[in-house]
Symmetry: C2
């Protein structure tokens, strides 16, 4: 469809997102060679068995050697050590990016450990599923989704050219690209992704711990709303642990707002203030209309299903 | 496919659920005649235009006259007045049921206002979508779903026969039927449906009120988890206002547990206790496996889509 944008792509950490990037990049013909590094022997074996990469290594240094695009796709808190291990082997002029759900913490790590000769452009594709590991990835994951890039403050021509090339890469994978300040990214995602996950994990945990209602009942009657939360709360535990730790301040800030609002709602229920409930429940419908109009409505479960035949 | 189970079905309140019952009952040939009562002129006009019923009335008395199955499908807090208005016109020997998401409050109202000659069997189909009104209903809504019936304490043969017939009605509509004590129903549903809706309404409200993150951003990047909440938070405001008011004690009890757990989670994030986060996030995955194994995984959005071609 189009020529290669990069000669060699190195993916460090090959789970759902890393393996989806590889599948999509290969399907679109935008890279010539693919190298994978992953600390897990089990993951490396699956990557080899699936034929995802031209080479598979344990440490990042081997994979990133000679790569003009290096993508860290490990859980957020594992990226620091991986970047440190890769630093000396990075090709001058390579673009270094990532796919982490938090950006300020990763930008700091990159700034601290990467050599000056590479173009650092942190990134985050807003796409995923509750499944994880290299088997869970699929080429269409990024289609019609947003990828946010949080470029550094520099505006020199070579950096801008690298930014343009990385943008073209994501567009080739089917995504739309938006540039954003990393701190603003972390606040936006705290609202649209991190808090929803935290709430879902929490409600499923609460339900599992009840004594008056059995786990079997919770599952059996989950169609009333609960099962959507179980899907979100089945997301990768390590990745999400890291997200909350690495984006602590924004998550706690948004969680504080949520809790305040929930207390007011609880009070309205206790005192039978139906008007307040109705006012909120009517207002929240508008947001839904916005989501539908913005074409953000493709439900995640469908990805899960399409994936099997991918 | 099978003979009629009831001669005349009267549906009092014709929204998503009422109109779905009508469509399904007609499709399965389990009733001979259908009467609708609804206080809204707009709803009555739509019911007439859609040809859903053989007769459409404003007040319940006219619709329930001569009916051997009377189903109250109005919002929970509107059922009392509707039942009171219908009481004198009810046929002796008729079965009176409802589809409300709360059961103890409705059972009390029924016991207080209905005449002794009818068989009162409150019920609740665990099915729905975020859309509402008579246009939103569809015949397949109950297929593969559970309907919970909360029969009264009486165990006389005519009552048991009425219970058996109502069970056959729901089975004919594609549902599986479970009998339950009404107070236990209210606690189970507080967990699996009412709290999830409350949380979804709350998080969407919190997100809409932020100043640092625009509504446009919230919508644009909703694929990270938030959009699932927007769907739930688009559910009928009046119905859900009534649910929280009518099931106040159970909702506040479960909400209290949820809030305690959320505070512990918040503390773990603040103090960087990754082990605690990982332990919870790993545990919640088991519940998801249960939901999938129990075949409760058909996602709601698919109903929305199938509906259009219904």
């Amino acid at each position: 469809m189009r020529g290669a944008l990069y000669r060699k792509l190195a993916v460090v950490g090959c789970g759902l997102i890393g393996s989806s990037v590889i599948r999509a990049a290969r399907a679109r013909g935008v890279v010539e060679e693919i190298a994978v590094a992953d600390p897990s022997q089990a993951v490396r074996a699956r990557v080899a068995a699936l034929g995802l990469a031209d080479s598979v290594a344990e440490g990042p240094a081997e994979a990133v050697a000679g790569a003009d695009l290096v993508m860290f796709a490990a859980p957020p808190l594992a990226i620091g050590a991986a970047a440190r291990a890769a630093a000396a082997a990075l090709e001058p002029g390579a673009t270094v990016t990532d796919v982490g759900s938090v950006k300020a913490a990763i930008a700091e790590v990159f700034a601290a450990v990467l050599p000056p000769g590479v173009f650092v452009i942190p990134g985050h594709p807003i796409a995923g599923s509750e499944e994880s590991g290299p088997d869970a990835g699929f080429a269409a994951l990024f289609e019609g989704r947003w990828t946010i890039l949080t470029p550094q403050a520099r505006r020199d021509a070579p950096y801008l050219a690298a930014l343009e090339r990385l943008t073209a890469f994501w567009v080739a994978l089917g995504a739309q690209v938006e540039l954003m300040d990393e701190r603003h990214h972390d606040l936006v995602l705290a609202v649209t992704s991190h808090l929803p996950h935290l709430i879902a994990y929490n409600i499923v945990g609460t339900a599992a711990d009840l004594e008056e209602v059995t786990r079997g009942e919770v599952i059996k009657y989950s169609a009333g709303g609960f099962r959507d939360f179980t899907r979100i709360a089945a997301s990768d535990p390590i990745m999400w642990r890291d997200v909350f730790l690495a984006n602590r301040d924004a998550v706690l800030e948004i969680l504080g707002r949520f809790t305040e609002d929930l207390q007011a709602l609880s009070r309205a229920i206790r005192w039978g203030e139906g008007d307040k409930l109705e006012e909120l429940f009517t207002r929240t419908r508008e947001i839904r209309r916005g989501v539908i109009e913005a074409g953000q409505e493709t439900p995640e479960p469908d990805f899960g299903r399409h994936r099997k035949g991918d």
